[in-house]
């Protein structure tokens, strides 16, 4: 048997004095990251469901953006061809492209407005979905949160753990969603318009759209996670411990 006396020695001195001298309770970010990432990997099922919401929403966003960039690229290259043709035949580009090109542009604008509306709606739906699964994943861990508070965790520690978790899910989900949506659209247009489509795209614009998608996905999952995490953190430990799932 190991020396219990040494291990379980009593805290000496008055509590008031000690409270003053060593009032420190910490959760280093490195530890918080380790714990949160463990939580994500060990509760993979739950994380995947939450991430699925992000993936679907962002994949839709990504596909719409990709199709816009590709269509712009195709239109630009078409315009160039017409100009070249016009220069070769001696006519003006207006005569050759004339009515049909103008109608095309009109139609494309209307279509893009519809798509923007769809993107907004899908992001809203995906936001609600993520909020719901975040709420669930916090609720089912009330007891764990209560236990952590018994062990001396401050409210901010709990929020910090859930924030890191949400950010991880948000970033990973967004990246997967962006890639999926992008590749799907690229494939569809390549089959429809020939495999030179990718070359006609304006990649700098595409990258900006991808960055926006990543930001939106991460922000949505963070915003969805904060309120339930804060609510859980503020609970008195006794209440959190007693809660049944």
């Amino acid at each position: 048997m190991i020396d219990i006396k040494r291990l379980a020695k009593m805290g000496g001195g008055g509590a008031a004095e000690e409270l003053h001298i060593q009032r420190q309770i910490v959760l280093p970010w490195s530890e918080a990251f380790r714990i949160s990432i463990r939580n994500v990997t060990l509760r993979l099922g739950r994380a995947v469901i939450t991430a699925a919401g992000v993936i679907l929403g962002i994949a839709f966003f990504s596909s719409v953006c990709t199709s816009k960039v590709i269509q712009d690229g195709l239109a630009a290259s078409e315009a160039l061809q017409i100009q070249a043709l016009a220069a070769a035949t001696g006519g003006t580009s207006e005569e050759l492209g004339s009515g049909s090109a103008a109608a095309d542009i009109q139609e494309r604008k209307a279509q893009q407005a519809r798509q923007l509306w769809l993107v907004i709606m899908s992001l809203l739906v995906c936001g609600v979905g993520i909020t719901n699964s975040m709420l669930m994943s916090v609720t089912e861990r009330f007891q764990e949160i209560g236990t952590m508070k018994c062990l001396g965790a401050l409210d901010v520690f709990i929020v910090r753990l859930f924030l890191i978790e949400a950010a991880t899910i948000g970033v990973l989900g967004s990246v997967v969603g962006l890639i999926l949506g992008h590749l799907a659209m690229l494939l569809i247009f390549s089959l429809k318009e020939g495999f030179s489509t990718a070359a006609k795209m304006d990649w700098s614009v595409m990258l900006i759209y991808l960055a926006i998608g990543l930001a939106i996905g991460t922000v949505i999952s963070l915003v969805a996670a904060v309120p339930p995490a804060m609510r859980a953190a503020r609970m008195r430990p006794a209440v959190a411990l007693q809660s049944e799932i």
Partner: protein
Amino acid sequence: MAKIECPNCGAEIETAGIVTVCPECNADLRDVMEKLARERKTSRGDLVRDDSVTTHEFIVRTRDLAKIYTMGEVEVPALRGVDLDVRRGEYLSIMGPSGSGKTTLFNMIGGLDKPSDGSCYIEEVDMAQLDAFELAWLRCRKIGYIFQTFNLIPVMTALENVTLPMIFAGMGTDEMMDRGRELLDMVGLGDRLHHKPFELSGGQQQRVAVARSLANSPAIVLADEPTGNLDLQTGKEIIDLLKELNREGGVTIISATHDLKMIDVSDRIVHIRDGEVERIEERADLELEIGTLGSEHVPEH
């Protein structure tokens, strides 16, 4: 009028109003004043307070502690004015039928819930006066908790569960791991360090919980029905372990229970019924009674 002593030059200073620097040597007195203010705060509400006697004899004191739960429109009193003094280093059992307020009392003493009325002092500090940070500090360093349902963090290994309170206490990684191993060794789980809770039996999980409760060398271990979910034999082992910690380590143990095996090891037994202290039995008065009870209820092993 209170007088304080300057920590720097030893001069006696009257503390009328707010003094922040020593008039003799200009030393900073804010720390001393803050301590004094805290002491005054803690003594407020006491009937008589004699520093020389009470300061360290009682580690926990409750005065007129009451808790009322509001369920919809109905007010359900769980505690109706409990006065309880817990001596430093004793093994105290709180006994009573379920619904008698054991767990509520446990929550109040552990700073897990706020009383509706009355006060609870831990080492003469009134818990109601503590801010969130100080409460967390108290839970982290001063009190160890053991629950009926073990309450281990399911995604963490035994070692990680035990070291979690040490992370909060800001301990270094190496020291933390060594101490975690030692504690788990002590409860007989030296070979189960990297097992997750679901890979351990109930008794083993509760052993991890006992080790975790000792992580930061608390002065008090609060156990809420620690044997409630265990079979007789395993329950007995946990009780023996707690008793050993109490005897060898001088840890004050407060245990809510209705397990008769607990009577055997308790120094005092507080019986509560309907949210009030019914009677308090000293172990000395119980020796005889236990002799007969023990042979009937505790199986030999």
